[in-house]
């Protein structure tokens, strides 16, 4: 329907000319279709859960989406090690040296998987619930694994990475007045324009609710 798209464009041109003829002052308004703001889509896939995925998610996804790994042709483990070290030393990834072998193994293993299985969306069998469940204990464990690097142990956005991000990691202690659905959406889908990735590939829907229930305790 490219032809159709062109048809619409032609129609627009006619509409602009017509408006201009009817009322010259309308011309500028008619031309001012350009969006003030664009909203970028969230990445369609994240890292698949496997040993090391939580560390890879915490560090790699700060700067780029998981597709960067899944589009790669098979590389040797040595090449992956070179890539991870380049991310640390050239681009400033805050990954500690002790985690590098884990991430290299994870990326090397992911790279052997055919992307067709990769690209399948993880299905959440748990139906969405409107309130977070009452299990902040599990949520705390998950928070310490996935969130603490950026949001910090008390959720103030002051984790080891949090303040060096542009924009800085969110202060979760200031989210008390945000409705659950807004926070769930950010955890599930990430926040465009920030380092906050989508977690729906790594966390099940009930785990996402558990994280939220723990985040709620931070602002108390």
């Amino acid at each position: 329907m490219i032809r159709q798209a062109q048809g619409i464009k032609t129609f627009r041109v006619y509409a602009i000319v017509l408006l201009a003829l009817l009322h010259p002052l309308n011309l500028e308004r008619a031309l001012a279709e350009f969006p003030e703001t664009i909203i970028l889509p969230s990445p369609p896939l994240t890292f698949q859960t496997a040993p090391g995925s939580e560390i890879a998610s915490s560090y790699c996804l700060i700067c780029h989406s998981a597709e960067y790994v899944y589009i790669q042709p098979p590389h040797s483990r040595a090449t992956w090690e070179e890539i991870v070290k380049k991310m640390k030393h050239a681009f400033g990834c805050p990954i500690p040296d002790k985690h590098i072998p884990t991430v290299v193994d994870y990326l090397f293993n992911q790279n052997t998987i055919q992307p067709t299985t990769q690209l399948k969306k993880r299905r959440n069998n748990t139906p969405p619930i409107t309130r977070p469940n009452e299990n902040p204990i599990n949520g705390k464990v998950l928070y310490k694994t996935y969130c603490i690097n950026c949001h910090g142990s008390e959720g103030k956005g002051d984790g080891p990475i949090g303040q060096s991000l542009i924009p800085p990691a969110a202060d979760l202690t200031a989210t008390a007045d945000k409705p659950d659905r807004a926070l769930l959406k950010v955890i599930r889908h990430g926040r465009p324009g920030t380092a906050m990735p989508s977690w729906k590939g790594n966390l099940s829907d009930s785990e996402i609710h558990e994280v939220l229930s723990y985040v709620r305790t931070l602002s108390q």
Binding site: M1, I2, Q4, A5, F34, P35, E36, T37, I38, I39, L40, P41, S42, P43, P44, I62, C63, H64, S65, E67, Y68, Y70, I71, Q72, P73, P74, H75, T79, I83, A90, F91, G92, C93, P94, P115, T116, L119, I161, S164, L165, I166, P192, G193, T194, A195
Partner: protein, 418 residues
Amino acid sequence: MENKQIPNHVNDSNALTRRGFLKAGIMLGGSAIFGTRIGSAETPSAITLPFDRGRRPLIAFPQKRPLMVMTTRPPQLETPFHVFNESIFTPNDAFFVRWHLANIPTHIDLNEFRLTIRGQVKTKLTLSLDTLKNDFEPVEMAAVCQCGGNSRGFFEPRVPGGQWGHGAMGNAKWTGVRLKDLLEKAGVKDDAVQVRFDGLDKAVADVTPDFRKSLNVEEVLRQEVMVAYAMNGEPLPYLNGYPLRLVIPGWYASYWIKALNDIEVLNAIDQDFWMKQAYRLPADPCGCIEPGQKLRATVPINKMTVRSFITNVQDNATVKSGHPVTLKGIAFDQGYGIDQVLFSINGGKQWQQSTLGEDYGNFSFRPWEARFTPIAGTTYHLQCLAINRIGESQRWNARWNPSGYLRNVIETVSVKAV
């Protein structure tokens, strides 16, 4: 400003069977169709490039039709190849996208936006978009913008990096002002060596090197280098650099800084990461090494190699025998202009002249076409070979370098006549 399109001399839809197009690898839940059918029930979900890990979902980003998504954040979007057969100028909503850093501009207030020219100049300039448009002579030029890693996915052995097919390129009519005029107004000091260009995109972590690129002063004072505020007669899409983009015809796209807001004249060679360490080529004239060989001296990536493509027939397509088939394609180089495009139907054993189409300028895609009459049961290995006006031609054997740059080997499209 009208987009001129290649005249459709021949309606070749009869010569190429639909089935031929169906093999293009455009998947629709198991079946395949040719082209992106926006808004129809048959919207394809992905295009699979002919190399390992080549599946690319088709997703519409803001101001874009569904394009092949290589990565979402930062966005890297490839133009589906059939677009190059539809018009000699690549539509803005289909033009490829490649950002390096994730914090890209998604909102720009033109009341606040300023382009600064500073450094080794007599007068620092701070220009609004209106000042730029009103105080300087507008110029227009057709030019190809091509990623240095275009076609990287076809490198053998494969190399790390963005795995592009052939669609990380586009041809547009750029409108803007001469960079030379801006620099003359600011007054470049005698000790100027390079000029560094920076845009509004920012890294996520403040320790990541900011993406900015530098060029020698004599290079940027060329007549055709411009600061563009429009492509194909419209404001640049956000994802292609709204509101201003450096256009440096003939050079690879990494220098075409998007959302350009800072021009700094330097009195020494730029030592930044993106010049000194990234986007480097082997220093020998070929820009290549043998796979596995150690990379020694390197130079910054620079001007484009000469290339050509057949655009209206896809690999593994079927053509109808007994009727003349018109092959259509495009050719381009770094700005000497295309002198001739040869084509072969037998994998390069014999070559014939093609007919060049309208000349939109030395930096533009140059359309060409050729005819042959297939005989039933024969498989044809179709090739095209562009030669520019200083006699440079495409390569017969693919060059290799560890970053996957400069591909310009003669490409082959095999078709079977039925």
